[in-house]
């Protein structure tokens, strides 16, 4: 008999032993003389079930998890290669409610395909977006992106169509497309999952951007903390070159597009687009003054489309199905879907792609199942280390750029970190300043000096004497950081600090009236 078995090569799955599980399955199959095709797929994004193994059956793919190497012989005994019942059986993968209730557009193929198989990619609808893009004039590609309402998924939420139009219209012989894969926010891993689970969708998105802008060179700026993603990307890029989807005459067109991965070296600030460009140029990752914007003067001073991994990986589906189709999802001015990442102290952590508008409560309670520790949920931090801390009473907030801004928070890159009632928000606030001090590029004074002063002021706030003076200083300092910093690192560090004060004054030994000024 022959069977197809899927064991993820996603780094989270590997971190829980998926490699050993795959080895055990291959060995057991060989021992029993079973002809087994082992596919190393991406993760479905249900990390409490990882390592999650799937087998192809007549009814569809059947999942088992979490599987340990020691479970493998018993799995075979129960006929798992053909989908037999076992205590680890989770039934049909697509019927697992965590997955079934999602709206996966960007993540449509992640966990399903072999990430480095171009045939798999094409068989699952890959490169249809590029084919359609190549049949239209560049202006029309821009129109599709603009109509879709796609906003930068890296965190800033800037309309992608405006960036593309600017670069497309810029007159220059050399233009670039740069993918920002410096996913540094704690609580986020959607970029990583795309790069490890469906790298061709990113390559296709960048190719469409290049064709639109008239760029012949692209770079993926990947953080060095992602060695597995590096391996998968490089494998996929090599395949794309071999098969004529990169290099000269891309997909039989007149376009040339070369693509290369470049590694960062551990600097959070290089997630800021101009610092990233400096780093790509081989320099210190110092933030640039804007204007000029990168769309006009970006990499090596040339017009450059800079987008995050998720933004670029969403381009193919927009081009394939049209901007109007994508725009149909979402709420308000937040159109389309967002791959949300549920992390921290949560029972069912994972990747949930949903249309904008889903509430924090749906995500944290329905999908997440509450805290992992079983203790009461006390706070969630949304949008990475620069995002606000919200109390349990605010979980009805919908995922929407404007709704979050109205509550002095950010959606950011869509990461949600859950904390139980053992969290000390005064400590988290201090950490926000510490992190800013560690990662500041040092170019502007508010961020370079203010971050250290901020931690000191919070220490003074914790000691009984001089509390009133410390509050005044903190207020001034946060204003200075918010309005005087060159980029979002300094500019948003007050968000976690002030939200911690506003919603959890008791952790600072303060009363509601002491923190009324935080709004």
């Amino acid at each position: 008999m022959s069977a197809t078995v899927y064991v993820p090569r996603d780094s989270s799955a590997l971190s829980l032993g998926a490699g050993a599980v795959a080895d055990a399955i291959a060995a057991e199959a060989a021992r029993r003389g079973i002809d087994l095709r082992l596919v190393r797929n991406g993760s479905r994004g249900m990390f409490w079930l990882e390592p999650m193994v799937e087998v192809e059956s007549a009814r569809g793919r059947i999942a088992y998890g979490p599987v340990a190497p020691a479970d493998v012989p018993a799995l075979f005994d129960s006929g798992f290669p053909s989908g037999g019942e076992h205590r680890l059986s989770l039934g049909l993968t697509e019927e697992i409610s965590y997955l079934k209730r999602q709206e996966r557009l960007t993540f449509a193929r992640v966990g399903i395909v072999d990430p480095v198989s171009l045939d798999d990619y094409v068989a699952h609808g890959g490169y249809r977006g590029l084919a359609r893009a190549l049949s239209m004039p560049a202006e029309k590609i821009v129109e599709e992106i603009a109509e879709s309402g796609l906003r930068g998924r890296g965190g800033a939420g800037f309309p992608a169509g405006i960036k593309w139009r600017t670069t497309q219209q810029a007159a220059a012989r050399q233009k670039y497309v740069v993918c920002n894969a410096d996913e540094g926010d704690s609580g986020t891993f959607s970029d990583r999952m795309i790069m490890e689970g469906d790298p061709f969708v990113l390559i296709e998105g960048m190719t469409i951007a290049a064709a639109c802008a008239g760029a012949n060179q692209g770079y993926i700026y990947l953080r060095s903390e992602y060695p597995y993603a590096l391996r998968t990307l490089n494998e996929a890029i090599a395949v794309a070159y071999r098969r004529g989807y990169l290099g000269e005459k891309v997909a039989g067109s007149s376009h040339t597009f070369n693509l290369e991965v470049r590694l960062g070296a551990g600097a959070y600030v290089c997630g800021e687009e101009t610092a990233m460009l400096e780093s790509l140029e081989g320099k210190r990752g110092m933030v640039r003054y804007k204007p000029p914007v990168p769309a006009i003067a970006g990499l090596f001073g040339r017009p450059t489309i800079v987008n995050n991994v998720i933004s670029l990986a969403t381009v193919p589906v927009i081009l394939e199905r049209g901007g109007a189709f994508y725009k149909d999802y979402g709420m308000g001015r937040s159109r389309g879907t967002l791959p949300i990442q549920l992390a921290g102290n949560i029972k069912r952590p994972g990747l949930i792609e949903k249309a904008f508008g889903v509430t924090l409560r749906d995500l944290v309670e329905d999908y997440g199942g509450g805290t992992c520790s079983g203790r009461p949920l006390r706070a969630v931090q949304v949008g990475g280390p620069l995002g606000a801390y919200f109390p349990a009473s605010m979980l009805d907030l919908p995922m929407d750029y404007e709704a979050f801004a109205a509550k002095k928070g950010i959606v950011g890159h869509g990461g949600i970190v859950v904390f139980d009632d053992t969290v000390d928000l005064a400590r988290q606030a201090r950490w926000a300043f510490e992190f800013c001090a560690i990662e500041s590029c040092g170019k502007c004074t508010p961020c370079r000096i203010g971050s250290t002063r901020g931690a000191e002021v919070l220490d003074r706030l914790a000691s009984a004497g001089g509390r009133t003076a410390a509050i005044g200083l903190l207020r001034d300092l946060c204003d200075t950081l918010t309005y005087g910093s060159l980029c979002a690192l300094g500019g948003l560090t007050p968000l976690p600090v002030l939200s911690a004060l506003r919603h959890f004054p008791e952790d600072f030994g303060l009363s509601q009236s002491d923190v009324a000024w935080t709004g």
């Binding site: 989270s12 990390f47 540094g184 891993f189 070296a265 600097a267 210190r284 992390a343 904390f419």
Partner: protein, 161 residues
């Protein structure tokens, strides 16, 4: 990786720089290659790289010291990178860090006296669905409890690679 080499190999650095210097933004590529080869960026390599790229030594030094990854001294035989960011904090990373420091008898950025382990902080490994996370050399680990850390450590104690 040729770690713990005391003798500086200027010829090797020159060759690395010569091989990469024509690539756009070459300095980062060269520094990564040097560190991959030696485990750190030796001080003595700075003028060699600067000369190859027609940069000042100060410029190269500035780039080396800007990035957390580039080490100025050889690491131990094993490198532990422990995540200290928010998602891991929510799952006990602060206590884990205390445990790790006590267990190894070193702080962050230090190497054990026997040269077996270097402990480095890292701010997010993208494994936030399986916090707390750490890397031991090139391998990523999730849900690292103090007990799991001790097991991983025991597996590497006499590892002399």
């Amino acid at each position: 990786m040729e770690r713990n080499k005391n003798g500086f190999d200027g010829v090797a650095v020159e060759a690395i720089a010569a091989g990469l210097k024509e690539r756009p933004g070459a300095l980062m590529l060269i520094l990564h290659e040097v560190q991959d080869r030696f485990g750190y960026v030796p001080r003595e390599s700075v003028p060699v790289i600067a000369h190859a790229l027609n940069l000042s030594r100060a410029e190269v030094h500035g780039v080396v010291t800007f990035y957390h990854d580039f080490r100025s001294a050889p690491p131990g035989r094993n490198v532990i990178r422990l995540c200290r960011a928010e998602s891991c904090q929510a799952m006990g990373a602060v206590a884990l860090a205390e445990h790790v420091r006590a267990r190894l008898g070193v702080g962050f950025g230090e190497t054990t006296r026997d040269g077996a382990f270097t402990l480095e902080p890292v701010y997010c490994l993208g494994n936030c669905g399986c916090s707390p996370a750490m890397m031991l050399n090139d391998e990523l680990y999730g849900r690292v409890s103090p007990e799991r850390f001790d097991e991983l450590l025991a597996g590497r104690k006499d590892d002399g690679r």
